[in-house]
């Protein structure tokens, strides 16, 4: 292909868009809606993933102390924890008395079950939060083992259940995202294919004449491929703009989206934006390619 023909092809593509603007407006609008649905999903997924990883990177442990430990030994233990684990933060020290009070409050009406007990059976405990070190979540198991070797420690417990549950949820959300994204991509492809098919039919006579005077198939096809790509790019751009506008509006209003407004709600980062834009342009290109394939078989 002669490179000097590129401006000619681009000009032809823009002329096609102009001539069939109504078809393109309808096509672009439908594409924008589809991309916006996908973008919204991506935005929610991104933030959900962010929050869960934010929580998941740190974890807390309950260190149950031996019966009869005095406050001096307790302080020594706290110092030992701080010295051995740089990411550790003592959240709370719960005395035996406090633990009993907490349990009474938690049981409410059922607190009667505790009345028959000869003494307070609950141990004193220390709640420790382990923050990520160098951006990595520390492995809880060796920490637990180490802590259990300290004098005065009866037992150490940590729960990863909730994390596992969230990670399971994220897997489901990710899978749903792939399915929704796939279905929407198919929808977008269908829209572009039909838009380009309509413009092809509207220029059927011109294409026939071009072929009769010696145009190669590619000479005819290239402007339509550019046309589809333009449609994809414009749709991608508008949908991103609409997504940002929606995000900015909701952020400004501090709207309570699923009760998550208390958390930082971020816009999708640059690589996601670029991906949406490129995928949209790519779908435009592939859609017009499919339309042309069918048309040129006729």
């Amino acid at each position: 292909m002669k490179l000097r023909l590129i401006p000619y092809f681009v000009k032809q593509a823009f002329q096609n868009v102009k001539k069939n603007r109504l078809v393109h407006i309808v096509g672009i609008s439908t594409m924008v809606i589809s991309l916006l649905i996908f973008g919204t999903f991506l935005l929610l997924f991104y933030n959900l993933d962010n929050w869960i990883h934010g929580w998941g990177n740190s974890f807390s442990m309950s260190i149950y102390l031996e019966e009869g430990i005095d406050s001096g030994a307790e302080k020594g233990l706290v110092q030992l924890i701080n010295r051995h684990f740089p990411g550790a933060k003592i959240e709370k020290i719960i005395s035996k008395k406090q633990a009993y009070k907490d349990l009474l409050r938690a049981l409410g009406k059922d607190a009667i079950v505790l009345q028959g007990l000869p003494r307070n059976p609950l141990p004193a405990s220390i709640e420790v939060l382990f923050k990520p070190l160098n951006g990595k979540r520390p492995d809880p198991f060796p920490i637990k083992e180490k802590l259990e070797t300290f004098q005065g420690v009866e037992e150490v417990q940590y729960s990863e259940e909730w994390l596992d549950r969230f990670e399971g949820l994220m897997r489901v959300v990710r899978l749903a995202g792939i399915i929704i994204g796939g279905l929407l991509s198919l929808g977008v492809l269908f829209i572009v294919t039909n838009t380009i098919k309509l413009t092809l039919y509207s220029r059927e006579e011109e294409i026939e004449i071009m072929k009769l005077v010696g145009a190669t198939d590619w000479f005819v096809k290239i402007p339509f491929l550019i046309e589809g790509t333009i449609q994809g790019m414009v749709s991608g751009f508008i949908s991103l703009l609409a997504l940002y506008a929606g995000y900015a509006f909701l952020s400004a209003k501090k709207a309570d989206i699923l009760g998550l407004a208390i958390l930082d709600f971020l816009f999708v980062p640059a690589p996601y934006i670029l991906t949406i834009f490129l995928v949209s342009a790519g779908l435009g290109l592939v859609g017009s390619f499919i339309a042309l394939g069918r048309f040129f078989k006729l």
Partner: protein
């Protein structure tokens, strides 16, 4: 220039052409004639590569159209001009743009396209109407635009299928005069017509078809 060997063309059960053998030399001006349904248009379309023969071979300037690849056929068409009875002009483009199209598809430079399209339109007497649209012109003028488009690439061969079929006798004479001028410049010309008046007035070679068979030549 054009050679046909044992050419057959069927459309389903209908036989359009049977065993046509023909040789048209470089620089010839030939009429293909015969009654309606004789196979003239089919023969012209086969020579243009718009149809494939059922059997037999067609050689244009030594190139066998049966063995040519699709892309090569597109390139060959730039050297074979075709004039249609219904002109096949794009009504949404000016006549200049219609003529320029044949050069644009060949990837020529814009300055060359401007010069050649202008010269082609001037040679058919429409140099001053370049910015007109086809529907603003008479039938004869539209046919002249179609001829300008067919010759703008300096084709080796010009094929014309019933080019005067839609024109009155005066305009027919104009078009025939134009063809003679093109022929005198060295282009091989094949004109399909069923017009007896046209044939009576000419001394050019005639190939006569009837019911798909070559039945004679003058």
């Amino acid at each position: 220039m054009i050679q046909l060997f044992h050419l057959f063309k069927n459309f389903g059960p209908n036989v359009a052409l049977q065993d046509i053998n023909l040789r048209i030399r470089k620089g010839d001006f030939v009429f293909v004639t015969g009654p309606s349904g004789a196979g003239k248009t089919t023969l012209m379309r086969l020579m243009f590569g718009a149809e494939k023969p059922t059997s037999g071979n067609i050689l244009i300037n030594g190139i066998n159209l049966n063995r040519i690849r699709r892309q090569k056929l597109d390139l060959l068409r730039r050297k074979v001009g075709f004039v249609f009875q219904d002109f096949k002009l794009l009504t949404g483009k000016t006549i200049f743009e219609n003529v320029a199209l044949a050069l644009e598809v060949a990837g020529e430079r814009p300055s060359y396209i401007r010069k050649k399209a202008h010269l082609a339109l001037r040679s058919v007497g429409l140099g001053k109407r370049e910015q007109s649209y086809p529907l603003q012109l008479s039938g004869g003028e539209q046919q002249r635009v179609a001829i300008a488009r067919a010759i703008v690439n300096d084709p080796l061969v010009l094929l014309a299928d019933e080019p005067t079929g839609n024109l009155d006798p005066e305009l027919t004479k104009d078009i025939m005069l134009l063809f003679r001028t093109i022929h005198m410049k060295g282009t091989t010309l094949v004109v399909a017509t069923h017009s007896r008046n046209l044939l009576e007035e000419t001394a050019q070679k005639q190939i006569i078809l009837n019911r798909g068979r070559l039945v004679g030549s003058k």
